[in-house]
Assembly symmetry: C2
Homo-oligomer: 124 residues x 2
Amino acid sequence: MLESHQYLRQFSIKPSVQRSAVMHFLLNNRIHPTIDEIFMALSPTMPTLSKTTVYNTMDLFVEKGAVQVLAIDEKNARYDVDISAHGHFFCKGCAKVYDIFDLKPEMFQLPVNEKFKIHAVESS
Amino acid sequence: MLESHQYLRQFSIKPSVQRSAVMHFLLNNRIHPTIDEIFMALSPTMPTLSKTTVYNTMDLFVEKGAVQVLAIDEKNARYDVDISAHGHFFCKGCAKVYDIFDLKPEMFQLPVNEKFKIHAVESS
DNA sequence: GTTTTTAATTGAAATGATTACAAAGATAAT
DNA sequence: ATTATCTTTGTAATCATTTCAATTAAAAAC
Ligand SMILES: [Mn+2]
Ligand SMILES: [Mn+2]
Ligand SMILES: [Zn+2]
Ligand SMILES: [Zn+2]
């Protein structure tokens, strides 16, 4: 969480206990988490944490450019601390988001309306 | 709406008055509409139409592969009667979705967290 | 063509994510 | 220490979507 402190400053985000904890989680769990996943992960060790704070914090992080928000999962917003331009693959089976860094053009020959979606991919 | 009738049959969707009206609207208004936009467009000439029916109808259309659902707008689901693999550009200014058929790789050098998003694009 | 069965539509209520808001708590400035 | 500013918190409101049971329409059986 020392590192998170520094990391936040790079984006001119004033660090607070909650903000550092959230950023620490994001940096160490690159699972494109939902608000609820962040909240449930931190809640045990931070019992006073409010879900509203997680919403506020993520809004601020996005505003400051420290994270990007993904709309690939229509159920919940998902957040990515990796702000580089890269693709995402959403599996409706396990409801997880995977990165696509090296896109193969053939992947776009997949039929639509299947059990996955590909978003914001880079051309290769 | 005669054409819509035929069109639905191509996807083995049993045509009803409501389904044909919705499909007619989709075929003639390729604006990637939301549920509400569809409902508000048809409601005047079809006063008994229920929004639930629009939801049911779009679910069926997606299930049968007649339309694809886009998650690019985090506020509402958007539907596209063009089921070919093509890209979408969402402008947060006018809240409209634009097609991207010929993607230029340079477009991906745009910074993230700006006032737009690019989804599900084809490689060029 | 009337009865019976099945499918589609409807409106109201429930759900679930997100947002708004106002009070309480913490930090910074004077 | 006092005051002002920023952050956190919990509750309530909002809004899209889903669930559900009742009504209506269409299809099948007789
Ligand atoms: Mn990612
Ligand atoms: Mn389109
Ligand atoms: Zn999976
Ligand atoms: Zn625009």
